[in-house]
Every structure is written in C-alpha cells, then in structure tokens.
Symmetry: C2
Subunit: 376 residues, 2 copies
C-alpha cells in the first residue's frame, strides 16, 4: 500500500503515511447520481440496515437539537450506563468510538510502535492494515481457510513483535465465522501481552439461530477470563445508524483506560450519543431487522444459485458472490442500472462482488440486474 | 504528563501512552446537576456560542434524518464545495475534521515519529501536548511573553527534530494574538519542512474590528505563499455547533492529501456535515453572535475591573481573569452557585479562571457570584 508519489510532503511524513492509500468506502448514492445521471439508485454496498433505525431515534434527535451548541458529554455517561446494563458489565469496561473503526484505531495507537506487528486474516476488513500502516506498524495477514479465518495459521504467524490481533467474527467481506470452540481455543493460546480485538460488527445477525450459526459465540462472555480481549460492536449495522458513527469496545477496565487515553475527548457527537441510547432501547426493531435479513438471505442466495453462481455462506447482512473473471465489468453494468454493490479486488478477491441484503424489492432489482449483466 | 500507574497494560503500551492523562473538558451541565443537586446551572466553561446555532440548522437536521442509516459521504463533497466557495480556495485544499482538534491530530500523526518534536507556546491549548505524546513525539513549549506567544522564543526553540509548530491565534485560554506582521515574519522564518498549524478557532470573534484587534491576520491568505502552512477553523465556536463536531484545515493540496490519508473515512457524521453547510450559509447569525460578544466582553471586563481584578485582554469569546491564590476555592464557590467556569491550573495558570462570555443575564449572574465568592 506504500509507494512513490509526487507529493512534496511525502519525504517529511512518517514512513507509514508515505504513499498510504485511504480506505475506499462504498460509492455514495448521490455520487452515482451525479456521475451517471441516474435518479433511481439503490445502494447495497455498505451493509447498512435497509429498514433504517428505530422510529424512536428521529424523536430523540428532534428533542436534542436544543443542545447543539454545547460540547458533547466527553464521557458519554448516559450511553455507557445504558450499554453497561445491556451487556451486564461495568461502565468502566466501555470505550466509545466514532464508529467501531475508531476504537480499532485506538488499540493500534495505544500499543503499536514502528516495527511492531498487527496480525489479522487474509480477506479481513480493509481498515486493519490501513490503521496499522498509519501508526508505523507492520500489517501481517495470515492465510485464510475456505475464505475464513484459520486460527492455526494465525497462531503460527504470531512473533515477538506482534502487539495486536484483529479477529473479525463474522468476517467482512466474506461473512465467515469462527465457532465458539475455535475462538475460545484461539484466545487461550494467544500470549497475555497481545491484545485480541474481536470485531463483532455483525453480532446481531450472526447470533440469530435462523441464519444457521448455532455455534457463533458472544465473545464478551469471556472478558473476565481473558484480560487481553476486547470486543467491538457498532450501531452502524443492525441499529441503522451508520450516518451517526457510534461504536464501542467492551474490555477489561485497564484496557479501556488505555483506549480512553488515546480517544479524543469528543469523538462521539451529542446527536450520535442520544440516538444510540434510543436505538439500544428498541430491541424489537433489532429483531424485525434480523428476521428480514434471514428472509432476504434466502432470496438472494437462491437467486444467485439459480444463475449458476457460487457464494460464500455468510452469517452477516451481506453475501459475497463469485461472479468470475468479469466481476469488474459486472460491477460497472450494475452501476449503470443504478445498483451499487461492492467490488472486492482490493480485498484480494477480484472474482467476487459483495451485496448487502436490502429490502425485498431492492434485492429483486439486484437479481434482475445481475442476470442481465451476466448475459451481456 | 507521563507517570506510573497500576494499569496492567501500561508496560505493553507505547511509551507516549504510558501514564498519559486524557484532556479534561469543561464540566458538563448535567454532571454538576447530578453531583450538587442544582437545577439552574449555567455553563461558561467551554467557549460555546450562547445564542446557539443558526435557526436553519434545526430544519436541516430534521430533513436529513431519513439518511441516518446510510454512511456519511466520506469525502464531504457538499460541505467542502461550500467551504471552498466561502474561502475562495479549492476543495482539494480542505481536510474535514471531527472538530478542528481532529485535524490537529492528523498533522501530528502524519509527520511525528518517536523522537520528533512538536513546538507550541507556553499557556497554549492543552490538546497540543496530548496529541504529541500520544504519537510518541516530544512536546516543546516555548516561553510566553505577556501570556501570549513569543515568536522569537518559538523560533529559538526550533531544532532539527521539530516537525510541527502549533500557533493558536488567538490563543486559548489567554485570548492573546499575534499581529499580521508578527505572524508573517514567523512564517517566513520557519523552515519549509516544518508544518505550521495556525489554529484560528476564534477567527470570527478576533477579526471583528470592534473587539480591538485591527492587526489580527487571516492566515489563510498566505496559503499560496507558504506551502507548509495549514490554517484550522471550527464550527464549534461562533457557528454554535460544538455538539456536532465539525472543523477543518485549509492548506496546500499536497498537505491536505497527507492529512486525508490519516483521516478516518467517516470522521464527520452526516448530521454534522448537513448542519455545518447550513450554518455556513447563515453569515447573519455569525454577525449577530460577534456583536453580542463585543457587548458582553465590555460587561464582563468592566465588572471584574470594578472588583479590582486584572484580566488578560482577549479577542476571543472568553476572558481569563486573575482571581489570585484562591482561584481554586473561587471556582468551587461558583460551582456551588451553579456557575461553571474553567480553572486553568493545568495550563500553568493557577491564579486565573477563564470565563466564556454568555448571554447578558448569564454574565450578570457570573459577576454576582464572583463578587460573593471573593468576599467569602
């Protein structure tokens, strides 16, 4: 990811930042509208909840507009109290992030110096190597097994310089997961001075028995056993609040203390704090969202199977479909029909496209557009 | 700021993070209400706009609630277009931050490695040393002159390890400023490989002629002359949007490119982007806020002068008053009357309290409470 540029400041930048390429998000709807002149765009590219957030969020936000001129509560007192009750943990075990990716940056900045290594699996979330490089660390990707994490390969990749291990469970963009037994055995084997960050952004989808992962673990129940474990969750996925940026880590209080030292004092804004607290209280909305996801996973995987395509079995709200050598052309053809999905070439998966499960009509439109693109 | 703790993870953390003490924000209103059981609390502690944001902001936010489930535009296209037009610069010269303090972190993370130095003035904003330490850098504070920046002392403090210089203009918490001539001479003298970050959080207050600083410069007009200059501004002060966290840097496009490499992709959330754009369009609200500030600066400085107190002449929306040896006790006495100001002991100014200029009635209440506290 590093390389030569013509930037006059590159030579004075830290080595990790020289030539660093920023994260490429899913294409925004209005960008496609501007570029292609298409009105009716659907975005199935960023694993957002197609139902949106709980309806109580809008009321909460309207009520908190009067407080906009005040700095947010830098300690996030109310939201942390609510999260502590939800998880049956202590507030001192919670670190709030501007999205869970913020907390993933904190752990790298707290522990990684130039020369240190950060370990993750091949095909894992693109932010892991980026935040590692930015901190001057060395990203190490352990080989995958059937597109998923291979715990043995990861353990074998640990060196004396390893400081942080990221485990995405389930993984994005593959939707694969480690079972309860596999993950606990892994935690047991990692030395206590290495922080293991288990990224559970898709927890509520993956932990629903109907989606087919009865052995999917809630890593937070091991927090008292492994002080070097942190578990991250987010309000960006099933809670439908991607626009507001709220995530958090659950950990040992000492680890939370360190993460909070590198946390900027007002990283989560006041609207985000209020909305997250309201969204957390509406678990019925979470259930509705998960039920829809189960139904739509069947629709989309049946649909692509009918087209003769293979997909990676997923417990998330997305599925990666093996489109083949023409994946880039298919992605473009879908864009021209106003359907945004996610190309995966930058994940080392150039033959796959990842599609987020949307509303029934959106998924039907995706399937129709995909069928036409494959025939073209 | 570093020291020994009992935290089990400290020995594995980066040296700069070991014993790091997080930034202490102004006490939130509801925290005082919880702790002291006082209902009628006024907060004059965080240099917030007592008029709040433009009334158009609330309408804009209500209209954008439908987009909460979508990730923000990671490029901030619309807000950057509006800022570019406002400043008559190019969008490629803008880096958006989750508050301007976010951008100040970016410059340190982009350029500072362990052993490198970051220079600023004594009594300058507390975030400068904190972000430096967190990145493993060495904070260097040049001696002040009459509470303000001393450009000669700062130039003399530059070493071969200096990578970034922070110049707060005006400075917080003192309200002092460098004149047009002083600042340009300083920029001229700093070597081109050192980034000079001029923090103009209080620009709109300081550039109002009625407040008494006709020689206060707009550093952004030197951007084409000094490629190593960056100028930061914020929506947290005169725009009344501290709760939403939006700031930005103006710089050479190459420098902006580097800052954007370390910028997290969704650091400014969608409500914040929309609100900032709306607030920027209402310059009449900015003018009303600045006019009020001029009137209230006279009220508060006259009031404390009548009590026989000295204050540091300020061009911001706050003033630091020399209360004397009993400043900590006076701060507590004010709290018990429900008036929150800012103690400055952690800025090396234990005899001063900083008060934000509020609404007329709030300032009268502060003056009354201060009078009683001094007599106690």
């Amino acid at each position: 990811m590093a390389g030569q540029t013509n930037n006059r400041f590159d030579r004075w930048a830290t080595p990790g930042v020289r030539g660093l390429q920023p994260y490429q998000p899913g294409k925004p709807i209005d960008e496609l509208q501007r570029e292609y002149g298409i009105d009716e765009v659907i975005k199935l590219a960023s694993n957002e909840n197609p139902l949106g957030p709980s309806p109580v969020v809008a009321e909460t936000l309207a009520a908190s507009v009067a407080e906009l001129s005040r700095y947010p509560d830098g300690n996030g007192f109310a939201l942390k109290q609510a999260l502590a009750a939800h998880h049956r943990l202590n507030s001192a075990q919670i670190t709030l992030g501007n999205g869970s990716s913020d907390v993933l940056e904190f752990v790298v900045r707290a522990f990684v110096q130039p020369g240190d290594e950060v370990l993750f699996a091949e095909y894992a979330f693109a932010m892991y190597p980026l935040v590692t490089l930015a901190a001057g660390g060395t990203p190490v990707a352990a080989p995958a097994r059937d597109w998923g994490h291979d715990p043995e390969a990861m353990l074998a990749a640990i060196t004396p310089r390893t400081k942080v291990v990221f485990v995405a469970n389930p993984n994005n963009p593959t939707g694969t997961w480690l079972s309860d037994d596999e993950l606990q055995a892994f935690l047991e084997a990692v030395p206590e001075h290495i922080v293991v960050a288990v990224d559970e952004a898709y927890f509520d989808y993956a932990s629903d028995p109907a989606l087919g992962a009865p052995d999917y673990p809630d890593a937070s129940r091991w927090l008292s056993r492994y002080p070097n474990l942190m578990v991250t969750r987010t309000f960006s996925k099933v809670y439908g609040l991607a626009g507001l940026r709220v995530g958090y880590a659950l950990s040992h209080p000492d680890l939370a203390d360190l993460l909070n030292r590198v946390r900027p004092p007002f990283n989560v804004n006041s609207q985000a704090l209020a909305a997250a607290e309201a969204a957390l209280a509406d678990q019925a909305h979470v259930s509705r969202s998960v039920i829809l996801n189960v139904e739509e996973m069947a629709r989309v995987t049946d649909g692509v199977t009918e087209m003769g395509l293979e997909f990676i079995p997923s417990v998330g709200n997305f599925v990666s479909v093996e489109v083949g050598d023409s994946a880039a052309a298919v992605y473009d053809a879908l864009l021209r029909e106003g359907v945004i999905v996610r190309p995966l070439a930058n994940y080392g998966m150039p033959r796959h496209l990842r599609v987020t499960l949307g509303l029934p009509a959106e998924n039907e439109r995706f399937l129709g557009a995909l069928r036409r693109a494959l025939k073209a």
